[in-house]
């Protein structure tokens, strides 16, 4: 029923009994389970894909694996996915794809598939399940060691999946593969993962791999099964058996559809039972392509000629020539012909320098064909080795970069280290598996399986980096493609060298060769060869570019795993949070905390709500959930001494029951954090920190205690989440607190500012109540166990109901504190601000030493023109300056012609003040305290706004309001 004219009548690892439907660019095709999109296309006789990215040239399928440079797909669906090589997408029924010109599109539709990750520890990790990797895993697993075997293909076997006559231990190679996999799967400590690509190798044998789990199962995928899984594997020993990729050849018209890698042709014939042509020419520099030749002949495909660059026939070439195949030595395909597909090749003779000899036009022979299979040699897949800074060596005989030495705890085996024959791969794999198991503590011996390929010894490789064009100079060879995906040619490389570039890293970036989705898998070494041809010397002297993860593209969804949406980042809430939600709070994220920003009443916008909340705090009573402030208990006989060293002001003699505002600085004298600290008893303090700084401050204290002052008897404990803190603020706050805490004498005389009292509330809840204020108003902070937090909040809210007690959020808190000139560390400071810069000279002790003190006599911190924190009042009384606005002197030209504008500083905080009836700002301005009264310019976009410099304390500078 199916139109698969190029499907061979037998063979292949496909299930012919099942027909699958596929749509490529709207064209309906069929295939079978076991097919990739590429093999199904070729079975239908279609090899063309979307045209090339920049030059719009016709392009076709080139490869059969991840190295494919042309055939990129967008797999269409509810959430489409782009940039998938057609050679790696398994066929499922109903698949619809579109071929891409090198650029994909991230589908904006939300991806509802599940992605997850898994962490695994293993004794031996083997990457690659070809002959070497299978032998390694088999040998290692026999020791009882934990073994993980990863392979990117749909089934284990590697190159053996594409072979025809190879044998292992005297049986067909794939029988051996089946036996080994069965043995591994029955071993209790072995794990075999197919469709799993190790894409990154990191220090201490940490390998990250992505497993494709459901796409090949068809639609719908099993419920609840993750589509992809990222494996994070820590291995005692790693065996890299990642194989090798064949290189194409660089000649005129080498991008024409119908030019395929010889090994890919072999794979399509044997693995997928597809003959992608009826009359082939093979162009090679080495013996490996002769396996393709014999397989083509065995499949009934006519081989018009084998064009071998080597001047004399190798034994293998002679053997194949002896079967009647025409072999043309000392020659190369110099050009292809055809419209949308190869219909012939031009063959020219090469001299010993690789140049076209004699009368080029007369000597060129034309051979008709519908496919050209090319082999320019093999490049070991050294990515994982090189990502770990494993060295490479240029092997002149193999014409390949091969691993030089090993990375600690790793081995490279098989064709990944340049051992291209089957027997050698099996021996090296076994040896590597045994060595890995032994090194991981599992002694074992194993005898390598004996592998035989159809061919005997491989002959030499001729290095042919650049087949000369028939006309012109290399600078003119715009159809000699080096990187098909980037549309870059020999002419582009010459332009780079003409611009003076010599290093391959520079040429890579100038031309973009090797930077596409395929990361130069088929182009990188050829680019090095072409560069060597341009500059003279060998590829080894040019060297390679750096290999970086990921080996193949990995979707962000897979990397994100389950850590998206609600699970993207932890969300911290206080015990009062449900009340905030129920009362319509709008939230902002501070650190990881969700804090109410404001509590709008019917129809209010943020400005109206903040104005109302501010009025309540300044004229009546308001309340705020301050539980997110960091809290650290510092205990021990030396707690006071320790705090004296880390805070700029003294704490050792602070009386029990008192509170003190403290600033801590880095050794360079810059503000690190601040907060109000309580002395709970002789050996116990409670520090508060900024909401976002809590964890960092605890780390900071621990660092000094552990590394510099271990002799101090001090212990630090985070108690942030143990306490709920409620600020009750405003002239009427005393009444509310008195109602809730009737046992407490709340008079200003009995309970003065900057003290705290322990009491039991009317509700029976033990509480610690502080007289501290972050607004300048009379205010209390009520601290209770978090378990009672919500209840006490509700008690206060009820107790203040007749006074219209008003909950407020961080926005009003900011306005209130800014009106008083209280800086927020991290907003008004940025790691370059000293306490003196912030106008807090008074908090810096002159009588004791502390961290940062020495820096205040450094020349830089003593400068008079340092940026000071000051207030700014827009003269128009209307403009609310955006935070970050730059401050400049009047009459400073702001034009492109006059160039850089000298900045005096910038706005750090900006609000509308309900109390002042105007907008205002805090700013860091050079020599700001000496400019009070001056008018400066705040440049808001294109508009200069006049601002009056004021002291930072704009509201109640005398401090008359704090006692109510």
């Amino acid at each position: 029923m199916s139109a698969q004219p190029h499907r061979l009548p037998s063979g292949g690892r496909i299930d012919r009994d099942t027909v699958l439907r596929l749509t490529v660019d709207g064209q309906e095709l069929t295939g079978h389970p076991g097919d990739t999109v590429a093999s199904a296309m070729l079975a239908a006789g279609r090899l063309d894909v979307a045209p090339s990215i920049y030059r719009g040239r016709p392009r076709g399928i080139v490869a059969a694996g991840v190295e494919e440079p042309n055939a990129l797909l967008e797999v269409l669906g509810r959430c489409s996915e782009s940039m998938l090589p057609a050679t790696t997408v398994s066929l499922v029924d109903g698949l619809a794809v579109r071929t891409l010109s090198g650029l994909g599109r991230l589908d904006p539709t939300g991806d509802e598939a599940v992605y997850d990750k898994k962490f695994a520890h293993t004794d031996v990790l083997v990457v690659g399940a070809g002959p070497a990797g299978l032998a390694a895993a088999w040998a290692a697993a026999r020791s009882g060691a934990r073994v993980i075997l990863l392979d990117e293909q749909s089934e284990p076997g590697g190159s053996l999946l594409s072979c025809r006559e190879e044998t292992v231990n005297g049986s067909p190679a794939l029988d051996w593969v089946r036996e080994v996999v069965a043995e591994l799967e029955s071993a209790p400590e072995a794990t075999v993962l197919s469709r799993t690509t190790a894409f990154g190798s990191y220090d201490d044998n940490y390998v990250v791999a992505v497993q494709h789990r459901t796409d090949h199962l068809g639609h719908p995928a099993p419920e609840g099964m993750s589509r992809r899984r990222v494996w994070h594997i820590r291995a005692a020993r790693v065996v890299i058996a990642t194989g090798a990729h064949e290189r194409p050849l660089v000649f005129a018209g080498n991008d024409r559809p119908g030019v395929l890698l010889a090994s890919a042709v072999r794979g399509y014939l044997n693995r997928y039972a597809v003959a992608p042509c009826s009359r082939a020419v093979v162009s090679t520099t080495n013996d490996s392509a002769y396996d393709t030749v014999t397989d083509l002949v065995a499949a009934g495909v006519e081989v018009a000629a084998v064009i071998d660059a080597r001047p004399t026939l190798s034994p293998r070439a002679a053997e194949v020539a002896g079967t009647g195949v025409r072999v043309v030595p000392g020659s190369a395909v110099v050009e292809t012909t055809g419209a949308s597909r190869v219909d012939g090749v031009l063959v020219g003779a090469l001299d010993e320098d690789g140049l076209l000899g004699g009368d080029v036009e007369a000597d060129v022979e034309t051979i008709a064909c519908d496919l050209l299979a090319v082999s320019g040699g093999w490049s070991p897949v050294v990515h994982l080795h090189s990502q770990r800074q494993g060295r490479l060596r240029w092997d002149e005989v193999l014409a390949a970069f091969v691993p030089e030495g090993t990375v600690r705890g790793q081995r490279v085996a098989g064709s990944a280290r340049g051992t291209f024959d089957l027997g050698g791969c099996l021996e090296e794999g076994t040896e590597a598996g045994v060595a890995a198991a032994v090194a991981a503590g599992f002694p074992i011996e194993a005898e390598a399986p004996v592998g035989r390929a159809a061919t005997g010894e491989y002959g030499p490789v001729r290095q042919l980096w650049l087949v000369p064009g028939r006309r012109g100079e290399p600078a003119d060879w715009h159809e000699h493609f080096v990187d098909l995906q980037r549309d870059q040619t020999v002419a582009d490389v010459w332009r780079a060298t003409g611009a003076g570039l010599r290093g391959i890293e520079h040429v890579k970036r100038h031309t973009s060769i090797g930077t596409a989705h395929d990361q130069g898998r088929t182009s990188a070494v050829n680019a090095i060869g072409v560069l060597a041809a341009a500059l003279g010397g060998t590829p080894g002297e040019i060297g390679t570019t750096s290999y970086r993860a990921p080996y193949t593209p990995v979707s962000f969804a897979a990397l994100a795993g389950r850590e998206r949406g609600d699970l993207f980042d932890p969300e911290r809430t206080t015990p009062i949070h449900p009340w905030h939600v129920a009362h319509g709070a709008r939230f902002e994220i501070v650190g990881q905390w969700l804090r109410p920003r404001y509590f709008p009443r019917d129809g209010e916008d943020i400005d109206a709500a903040v104005a109302r909340e501010s009025r309540a705090a300044r004229r009546g009573v308001a309340m705020m959930d301050a539980s997110t402030l960091g809290k650290i208990e510092v205990c021990g006989a030396d707690a006071g001494e320790f705090l004296d060293r880390v805070y700029t002001n003294a704490h050792r003699r602070l009386p029990v029951g008192s509170a003190r505002y403290g600033v801590m600085c880095k050794p360079d004298g810059m503000i690190l954090d601040d907060g109000v600290n309580l002395r709970l008893d002789e050996n116990r303090f409670l520090l508060t920190t900024t909401t976002g700084g809590a964890a960092g401050v605890l780390d900071w204290l621990e660092e000094w205690l552990q590394t510099e002052w271990p002799e101090l008897d001090v212990y630090c404990t985070s108690v942030t989440e143990q306490w709920t803190t409620i600020a009750v603020v405003g002239p009427k706050s005393r009444q509310v607190v008195a109602r809730v805490a009737p046992d407490l004498d709340v008079s200003a005389e009995a309970f003065p500012f900057m003290t705290f009292r322990e009491t039991t509330l009317a509700s029976g809840v033990p509480a610690r109540i502080c007289r501290i204020s972050f607004s300048g108003e009379l205010a209390y902070e009520i601290n209770v166990s978090g378990w009672y937090g919500l209840a006490v909040w509700e008690q206060l809210y009820a107790a203040g109901a007749d006074l219209d007690i008003t909950p407020y959020g961080t926005e009003t808190m900011h306005v209130l504190r800014a009106e008083k000139g209280y800086p927020i560390v991290g907003q008004d400071t940025d790691g370059t601000v000293t306490p003196q810069d912030a106008g807090m000279d008074w908090v810096v002790s002159k009588r004791k030493d502390f961290i940062g003190n020495r820096s205040y006599t450094r020349a830089d911190t003593a400068r008079a023109d340092r940026r000071h924190l000051i207030g700014l009042l827009p003269v128009d009384r209307v403009t609310r300056l955006p935070e970050g606005t730059q401050i400049i002197a009047p009459d400073t030209p702001v034009t492109p012609e006059r160039g850089p504008v000298p900045m005096l500083g910038h706005v750090t905080s900006s609000y509308h003040s309900e109390a002042l009836g105007r907008p205002f700002a805090l700013a860091l301005v050079a020599g700001g305290r000496d400019r009070i009264g001056e008018t400066l310019i705040a440049q808001v976009g294109d508009s200069p706004v006049e601002v009056l410099v004021a002291g930072p304390v704009l509201y109640d500078p005398e401090g008359n309001r704090r006692d109510g």
Partner: protein, 93 residues
């Protein structure tokens, strides 16, 4: 991702730790006795060797203890792990 052997907890992934810069840079006993030049060198100057380097790490998400690591900055190989009270191993800067 380094595998660091916390002296108290054993081998754990690098993500459990925070880096603390060069080890054995003592906070001066009496900073006031230092010249500006000497203080600036304490504040801002650190070694940046190619090869073995003694550095501080803290097991942030584990025991929260600081310790020292001798690490080769070229190979990232951990040559030694030792407690702050232990002497610096031979052959390092």
């Amino acid at each position: 991702m380094l595998l660091l052997d916390c002296p108290w907890c054993g081998p754990r992934d690098e993500t459990e730790y925070h880096y603390g810069g060069q080890a054995h840079v003592r906070y001066p006993q009496v900073p006031a006795d230092l010249t500006d030049q000497e203080w600036a060198e304490y504040l801002f100057f650190r070694d940046n060797p190619e090869g073995p380097f003694a550095e501080r790490w803290v097991h942030s998400t584990g025991c929260r203890r600081w310790f020292n690591v001798m690490r080769d900055t070229t190979s990232y190989r951990v040559l030694a792990v030792y407690r702050p009270t232990d002497p610096r191993p031979e052959g390092s800067r």
